[in-house]
Symmetry: D3
């Protein structure tokens, strides 16, 4: 067995080294996933300390010190990780370490400035969750136990980094949320205010999706692309739908395609499969094998 262990170790080791040398696309990155998840944990503890940091006494200086310690920690770790990730940024992959560090620090500075606004957005999302779910008994319950809230919180954090063109890190963050919640929101998706996802498992929201204000989604909803046959040649194009304001999409509905627009105020019933636009104010459901689209009488 000792020989086997030695042989297999040598074999895989040689292959790792070769992959590393032969290709810029394989095994050359040194991001630290645990560090990135640690950054996320600190961020949610800063944003909602009573729920994610077990802070017992919100009105005290000790909380402030705790928050400051966490934020300093976020700044240090995130700067390091962004600097590494910039090795994959087309404009920075050939720059030296100092230039990458300068740019990483600039990015982290903008990111930190955005945190108070993220908290304001999330408070509106909590309000939307409370208003939208009869089972919700308090704002605290939303923050403590709704997976959809955790997913949108991570998306709002990761989306800021995505807009700043940080490679890889936003995806690692949202995939962590995906693993915890079953909700897969690409960091590129633009999402309006008062957003609420109930239950959440199986929700997929693609990279180029645009979502308006006061939108409510249920479990299993896909906001996706029509076909991926083009593969990498489709990179950068709008491939996912646009959802207007005040739209509700019930469970397991699919809305696909970059030219599909769901108008303001629409209600999409469960299991609908939609690949073309719907005018504002419509209610869409399945009936006799076809989508029924009729004006919504509230």
């Amino acid at each position: 067995m000792e020989e086997k262990i030695q042989g297999v170790t040598n074999d895989i080791f040689a292959d790792v080294v070769e992959s590393h040398s032969a290709s810029k696309l394989f095994e050359h990155l040194q991001l630290d996933r645990d560090a990135i998840i640690g950054i996320l944990d600190n961020l949610v503890a800063i944003l909602f300390p009573a729920h994610f940091a077990n802070e017992k006494t919100p009105g005290t200086y000790s909380l402030k010190y705790e928050m400051g310690t966490r934020l300093s920690n976020v700044v240090n770790c995130l700067t390091d990780q962004v600097m590494v990730s910039l090795q994959q940024h087309p404009d920075y992959c050939n720059k030296n370490d100092e230039m990458r560090r300068d740019h990483a620090e600039a990015i982290v500075g903008i990111f930190v400035d955005s945190l108070p606004e993220i908290r304001q957005l999330l408070k509106k999302d909590i309000q939307a969750g409370y208003d939208g779910d009869p089972a919700a008994t308090s704002f605290d319950e939303i923050i403590f136990s709704y997976p959809g809230f955790y997913a949108i919180m991570v998306n709002r954090i990761a989306h800021v980094l995505y807009k700043l063109e940080v490679p890889m890190i936003p995806r690692i963050m949202t995939e962590h949320a995906h693993s915890r919640t079953g909700v897969d929101i690409h960091p590129g998706a633009q999402i309006g205010e008062y957003f609420f996802i109930d239950h959440g498992t199986g929700v997929v929201i693609g990279e180029t999706t645009i979502i308006g204000d006061r939108v409510k989604l249920y479990q299993g909803v896909t906001l996706g692309g029509l076909s991926t046959r083009g593969g990498q040649s489709l990179r950068g194009r709008r491939r996912h739908p646009t959802i207007g304001n005040d739209v509700t999409i019930y469970s397991n509905a699919s809305i696909l395609g970059g030219e599909t627009i769901i108008g303001d105020g629409c209600i999409i019933s469960g299991n609908c499969f939609i690949t073309s636009s719907v005018a504002p104010g419509m209610r869409v459901s399945n009936g006799k094998g076809e989508l029924q689209i009729i004006p919504d009488k509230k």
Copy 2:
């Protein structure tokens, strides 16, 4: 950057303090999520020590000591957490600490007494899983590796606390199970004996659902509400369906509405979308764009 850190810390800190002071609904709770998950971990280790506590020798006093230590721990921690949660209970939010502690201790006493019965129920669920899945090779495999079993185990624990009107804690427990398994069972759901969920990801079972004995569900099944437009005004009403005895519901079927009753012995095919009641003994499937409902010839 130091100034930024200080500024953002001050900003968010002030907002947390303000939220805390201004509203009874924000940030005033001090539940400890990690403690609640620790309670769950101890409970499953007590219920099935060979599988969740790595106990090597089930027939020995050392196991008994281990179980007793865990149960003592559960009693202490759960009493503390219930006492905190009662701050959100309408009858106890204005009571003093001593009265809350007395009530918390009474609740925990009843809860502890229910554990042997919970184990008996779970043994029947294991039997149902073994009988219902040709891929299952032993009872142990069900306990060790079926996410549906873990989800129903947590539900049966949390449901006892829900019936005792403990705020928040049952939901934190079931959302922990949701995160691990993709199965979202509200602690309010009433579930009969010999219950089995296969694969499980995406299953949603709403708060006021009632499920009979010997029911089998597959992945993606929703037992949900018809519309949530009423929001908080719907709180407390029956919004989710009633499922009879001996019903099988295949993958991704949706059964919605508080007045929808699925009769005893029905079989619901995959992807069916049902919003009205079905008589006992029917087999429901999709055909030519409509649901086909015919008597089941076994």
Copy 3:
């Protein structure tokens, strides 16, 4: 409360002991789930050290030592766990410890030998992911953050043990991946080269499924059985479909039944529910309540 604790402890303890004595099917196993997950963690760290072991310098001897240490550890722990699991193997449950150890060592030897080939397969899966998803920016991103990649990695590991007839352990491994990713692939499934699952939540692939090369699946796809009414009597029979080469199956489609064959090059649209075979080169979609099956004009 002390009396309650003592009473309940005695009650459950007695029941555990009785279950253990009365039945070969209850509580007699002593597998260590944490150890099995630790084995998995070491294996993925060996296969892709830059991404799962935070190894910073892939071209160095220190990496080799690290890999060798991990592999030695895997060999020791896995041999122990396989030896325990063989108590449930029909040919070994009545053998003595020495014979079980000999067989466990033989199994682990074959398993270790298969690791370099597993890495080659996984490199092809990464290539398939990169080619198939316009949102993917690099191979590294696939390895770091695609849940479908993690799921197939664990499947390829567990499948080797499944073929060697190791009881229980392969399922514990794939259920760990299921919990992290929402993708439920039974270790028995046979999966070809260049396999890619996008988003992944809700995917279910049954025990006797056979999948060809260059197949792409989206979230919520079920490759399942038609009916489980037969329960344990169906054990060992083909119950799940055969998927040809170059097939794409979009989100939430279900393909069911052991005699269902999807021909090479087919494209299955989202939400299709298929229970009979499809000829090669077809495009299947829903239309007016029926499946539309037409030749695919690429």
Copy 4:
């Protein structure tokens, strides 16, 4: 063996319960030694963050947050422990919890106020160590690696609590330092400025010792009592010597007795055994079986 375990557990348990009930002097205290050591660790990290907290950038806000977090933590934990310890204080053992808490908070407030002064004293001790030891290469080396410095740091902390009549906790602190350094300074000892102990192992400084400024001790020095035959009847009386300013006491010398005064500027050679007072400015050494006491010609 199971019976043995049960029998011995019952036996010792019964004895613990009996000791607890029968006597106010046995097993009724609930201090948490680990918590007290954690308080010490936080205190030294606050006083010298670059050396005991691994803080890398002393001039930054993040350090301030870190220090504030630690100090808040010290306040909470120390208040709890002091409150418990007051059960053994003659004036507070019969008071209720609220009165104990009030007094504990008052004590901790005074203690916290004393920390800046403790740091100033310790900076002088560092200077004394650097000036007094030719082997010392920097102030940092004193702080990082001199056991005598750690022992005096803990003594200066514990002495403040001792003067505030906190039971037990000061001793637990100094015994922790004793265990780490071999230097046993009773928290009651009064020690002047610019104090230095070199090597330190075996040094014992008794409860009622008084030490002047600029005193230097070497390993194995005992400043102790003459006889302990009186036992508890001696409690509270001066039993240990008075050491003047600018005294140096070389290794393994013993100075004993509550009426023994070593005058300013004396030098005591190694191994001297002194039980009566020495006038200022003397040099004491052993010679021909007797102490030689002669004026010191510097």
Copy 5:
């Protein structure tokens, strides 16, 4: 550097293997020091749970479960370690594993039976400490913070194993206590009741020492051998002194030699160096370069 690492690793590895093969005295043992220290930690937590296990409520069943869990753990771990250590026992080094296990279990059985008696002895030692030290304020303080008490507690535990001829383990235990306390008591030493060591650092008590009841020692006392020139040829012979009942030995005194007997009731002053016997009731001190031995007038 990589080559250096590889070269040095190979070099030392080869030497370790060679030492292992060439000699029965080198590197062939597989005792686990951390496990042995863990056993000690559990034992002191069983003996004095309020002080070493942070048990908050001594009069409850949860304490009993906790103690039982710890004792079961001790039995398992100690049996394993004793079995390994028996490879060095002259009567068992050539026996098979089963015989070693049988003997290990017999040893551990006797050891467990001795624990209640050890607790009774230790309670007398606590009484002796309280009576003998005016600085002691309670029994609890002795248990919590006197290093001499910890040292005698470990000695009384290790001595039982020593008498049962367990190789190595007793020494590893007493050296752990030595490291924590500076008190080095060989597990072979026989020590009577009501034993007290004050301060403790530097105390050495040799393997063949015999100590009576009510003996009190101070820091730096050596009860040692006269000459070690004979080396291994002296193994097994009485080499250390006999101390009678009611003897007090003050700090840094040395009493050497296997034929040296200190009679009952003697008082030995600090720094005395004694190599021959002293009659009962004497007071020994230094004077004019010689020992002064006079009757003690109490």
Copy 6:
């Protein structure tokens, strides 16, 4: 209390910042003590893997991988720490980071090369311990449980770094050993082969001490300086004695002064206080208040 915490934090923070800015001698170093102790732990695990790494099977490749992993780790961490420490080296404090790194790497290279020789030296020390102590039952016992062996092991490691003029780190290493063992050997001391310290507590060996081969020391022995009145002006001069070959020094003896030479083969009795040279072959003891120096008749 919040105000107090804030005030004291601000006060100490300001003082730390000021100390840092005002002086090159205060708080500017960023060594990581825990990292240095981690390096030591890895080194002793490489040198004696069966005793300090719990390696169960010394003759296997897995051990080699483990050793290589540890050594790689040592190289990385030690290079970092040496680079930091060079900020205090007179020749490197004004150099840039790259030059410090180059020099650190050169130092670590030499250090690594010395490890096999250190192991050879230590094997001789083990032999000396076994031959010299009748209580020692095996070589393993020496390695497992003799504090003197641990102290000399750390000294031999730290001495190599001291000779390479690494600031601070050697002292932090030996003070760690001092804390564990009570044996204080300055890393500058030169120590010959076959060195043995029995019991060890209280031994002090000064920076400029030179010790020959086959020397044996007992607890409490001081090899120290005569006077430290000169303070820093004495830096670099010989201040401690020279001990010849084959010398035995019994407990608590003190040998002081840089011009004091103890000749080959001398035997120094316990408690002797020696400040001038002794010719070879002498036996020194106390008698009638004076040292008796007579030829040793073996």
